[in-house]
């Protein structure tokens, strides 16, 4: 592995790791706020137990999210100094605002985690909500920074110089809205399905049914609403990509030749040498329709883009298929869930549905990782689209390969420990929270 590839892999690894924790950090506070709210309203102990059990898990994720985020803010400079030298001042606006959001989040988290029975209960509740809101805001801001890499704005690039910088324009670039919207919904979808899946599994195992059933309902509601709207927002994203990054769209769809009535390709193995896709299902005209709302519209293919500017087609294509496929499955599960609710069927007794949810536990997160692969790999070979190549940005320091190996070991062991602790956390639920669940607590 050469140093350049190592740097890219290390960046991808760190980001792929961080995104899991940041999704949880953004979304769990809202789940907790709901059960906390029920607790304050009904004084039912079970809701307090849920809130507390979740908040313990979340504290672990928060710590890991915070350190992996800190790692990223180092790595941007450590791995891509040339990029940061020019990009820093331009896309720095969201980062400097994000600092405030993180800070508020960290402060509110201190209040929330350590403030049980210390403050006015509603003040305490609000601090929990603030954690979630500032989490979402910081997520949106970082994504705006990433969107700038896809859709550079707010400067003039003249003879290799970055002039007339306007950080505000850079922040509100063309891609920020579609990406931030899609990402925020994805966070709810992924975290919701993961949490609902774990609780569904526990219900199936007949452990602490009431505790898990109530938790399941909160998580599943969020997850299913998100999964229903996600394809819509994905559609906005796709139209957006078609406009600003035709190379990425072509790679997503393994669309080698420019054509009218372009087909939508499902599955298949892209053959980059011979510029064709084998074994694919093609739906004529659908790609043209999706991207331009007209089945006869012309869709730019990779043939219109200089070869040296092609992103890796196969990876981008597979990743896109995985994301969309999982998105469709989660949407179907959501439809089934709401159908059952509408029919007033008792969810707890519909075992097959719970099983589906249990199976779907990792789907959201896999879709998130796949989606980011589409965005980032699809942007290659550019780090700043059409302005700076990734290979120009990498650090001159040799030996990044070793750094990559060490980081891999660190992230693997961290994942292992976090998984292990989560397992213990869930296993302890019946021991720690074995208080009669429906007793009403008096204050």
């Amino acid at each position: 592995m050469d140093d350049f590839l190592a740097a890219r892999s290390q960046m991808a690894l760190s980001l792929g790791f961080h995104i899991i924790f940041s999704c949880i950090g953004m979304v769990m506070p809202f789940f907790m706020a709901v059960s906390h709210f029920y607790y304050l309203k009904t004084k039912k102990q079970v809701y307090k137990n849920i809130t507390k059990a979740w908040s313990k898990g979340v504290a672990i994720f928060f710590a890991t999210g915070a350190v992996s985020g800190t790692a990223l803010s180092f790595e941007l400079g450590l791995l891509w100094p040339e990029f940061m030298k020019h990009a820093g001042p331009i896309f720095g606006m969201p980062f400097s605002l994000e600092g405030t959001a993180f800070f508020i989040e960290a402060i509110a988290l201190g209040f929330f985690l350590y403030g049980w029975d210390r403050f006015n209960p509603w003040f305490h509740w609000v601090t929990g909500l603030v954690v979630g809101i500032s989490g979402i805001v910081s997520g949106i801001l970082v994504v705006a920074a990433n969107a700038w890499m896809n859709s550079p704005a707010g400067f003039d690039y003249i003879n290799g110089e970055y002039l007339n910088i306007d950080p505000i324009k850079a922040m509100f670039n063309d891609a920020w809205f579609s990406q931030a919207l899609h990402m925020s919904i994805a966070a709810f979808c992924a975290t919701g399905f993961a949490v609902a899946g774990v609780h569904a599994f526990m219900i199936l195992k007949k452990k602490n049914i009431e505790f898990h059933a109530k938790s399941f309902k909160i998580a599943a509601t969020f997850a299913c609403i998100a999964a229903l709207v996600q394809p819509l927002s994905g559609d906005i994203s796709a139209k957006d990509v078609a406009k600003r990054q035709p190379a990425k769209l072509a790679a997503m769809e393994a669309h080698f030749q420019t054509e009218r009535r372009a087909p939508f390709i499902i599955g298949g193995i892209p053959d980059e040498k011979n510029k064709k896709v084998d074994y694919a299902i093609k739906i004529p005209g659908l790609l043209s329709f999706i991207t331009y709302g007209d089945i006869n519209a012309e869709v730019k293919g990779l043939d219109q883009i200089p070869e040296e500017h092609h992103p890796p087609v196969a990876i981008t294509h597979y990743a896109f298929q995985i994301m969309v496929g999982l998105g469709m499955i989660m949407m179907l599960i959501s439809l089934l869930y709401f159908y059952q609710l509408w029919k007033k069927k008792e969810i707890l007794s519909t075992k097959w549905l719970l099983k589906l949810f249990a199976i779907a536990t990792p789907m959201g997160f896999i879709a998130v990782e796949a989606g980011w692969t589409v965005t980032e790999v699809g942007r290659q070979p550019w780090i700043i689209y059409n302005v700076m190549k990734t290979s120009e940005a990498v650090t001159p320091m040799p030996g990044i390969v070793y750094s990559f190996y060490i980081f891999t070991v660190i992230y693997l062991s961290l994942s292992f420990v976090v998984g292990f602790m989560l397992y213990r956390q869930i296993k302890m639920v019946d021991k720690i929270y074995d208080i009669p669940n429906d007793s009403v607590q008096k204050h």
Binding site: K56, A59, I60, F62, A63, T64, A66, V67, G69, T70, A71, S73, F74, L76, G77, L78, P81, E82, M84, K85, H86, G88, P89, I90, G92, M93, F95, S96, L97, G99, T100, F103, I104, A106, I107, A108, G110, F111, L113, Y114, G115, Y162, I165, D166, P167, I168, T395, P396, M397, P398, G399, S403, L414, V417, M421, R424, Q425, K427, M428, I432
Partner: protein
């Protein structure tokens, strides 16, 4: 506007040193606590830093963001030539933050705790040590931007005796800050005595390593003494630090928590001031004799201006909330 941003940069380094430093110090104290008292120390430490530790470390992020938005040349030079110590410091941050959370939130208490504790203690030591090394290399003129040779460009830019001495000095300062801070939070007379003793040891450690810093600077021909004592501010700051140290040791037995903290914080502030004043606005001295300056190497005007506004608006939100957080959790823990 540049000055606003520089003030924020200084303030966030300062606050990181004070708050984050006390935080690291807590782990360092644990490391130097006998087995018998470890549990007690741990409990006290946890109660004091638990609610604030995440917030304390945000100052570092703020400093980094200020550097890359406002002073990209400085940020890039640092991240290229300080790559290795930055990564090592980063490992410390990762290990420490996760171990701290894990040991508290692990649902089952068993042998894993010993591992978490060990990791927490050692990484509390490592992180400020490398922070010290990095800081030292910015002023000692060891960063070699011209060499293409791996050792000169990426190792000897930071790996030298001066840096190591500053590293130990930083560790001692952190331990000292933590001990002073915790004295006011102890429950029993006995605990209090223990932490006073620790504060003494750490203070002695700081004096020894501080002297080492000067000795090595002298041997390596780094004109540290001239820098610090060559201007009025430096002399006044160091004198004030010494005077406050004397007051501190005279009053430590009295129950004046706030005074103690202010005195300890004041000392560290004075030391930082003395170090940064002479060079201002230069912040990195390179081996070839050139400087990177906060004024000349400042980034684009508009980037600086928007950064300044973001910071000003941000602090309107942050400072009151942070104050309330620290205020709420002091002493209420019992």
């Amino acid at each position: 506007m540049t000055y606003v941003v520089i003030a924020f940069l200084w303030a966030s380094i300062w606050l990181y040193l004070l708050l984050g430093g006390a935080d690291f110090g807590a782990g360092i104290l644990e490391l130097f606590t006998s087995k018998k008292h470890q549990k007690n120390t741990r409990k006290t430490v946890y109660r004091v830093i638990g609610p604030v530790w995440e917030a304390n470390h945000m100052w570092l992020i703020i400093a980094i963001v200020i550097l890359f938005v406002g002073f990209p040349d400085i940020y890039t030079t640092m991240s290229i030539h300080m790559h290795i110590p930055l990564v090592l410091m980063l490992f410390g941050i990762i290990a420490r933050g996760t171990a701290f959370a894990f040991r508290h939130y692990d649902a089952v208490v068993d042998d894993m705790q010993t591992l978490y504790n060990k990791i927490f203690q050692y990484s509390s030591f490592i992180t400020p040590f490398f922070l010290g090394i990095i800081a030292a290399s910015t002023v000692s003129g060891s960063i070699d931007t011209e060499s293409t040779d791996f050792l000169n460009a990426y190792i000897f830019s930071w790996f030298n005796w001066f840096g190591i001495a500053v590293g130990f000095f930083t560790v001692a300062i952190c331990g000292f800050l933590a001990a002073i801070f915790i004295i006011g939070e102890t429950d029993t007379e006995e605990d209090k005595k223990r932490f006073i003793k620790k504060a003494k040891y750490m203070n002695i450690g700081a004096v020894i390593s501080g002297s080492l810093v000067f000795i090595i600077a002298y041997l390596e021909q780094i004109p540290l003494i001239d820098w610090i004592f060559g201007n009025v501010v430096g002399i006044v700051a160091i004198t004030a630090a010494t005077v406050s140290l004397i007051i501190l040791w005279r009053t430590i037995e009295q129950k004046r928590t706030v005074l103690l903290r202010i005195l300890a914080g004041f000392q560290v502030t004075m030391i930082l001031l003395a170090i940064t004043w002479e060079h201002f606005p230069n912040i990195i001295m390179l081996k070839n004799g050139n400087y990177l300056s906060l004024i000349e190497n400042a980034g684009h005007e508009k980037a600086i201006a928007s950064l300044a506004y973001a910071l000003l608006i941000g602090s309107l939100f942050i400072l009151p909330a942070l104050y309330y957080l620290i205020y709420s959790f002091q002493k209420k823990g019992k």
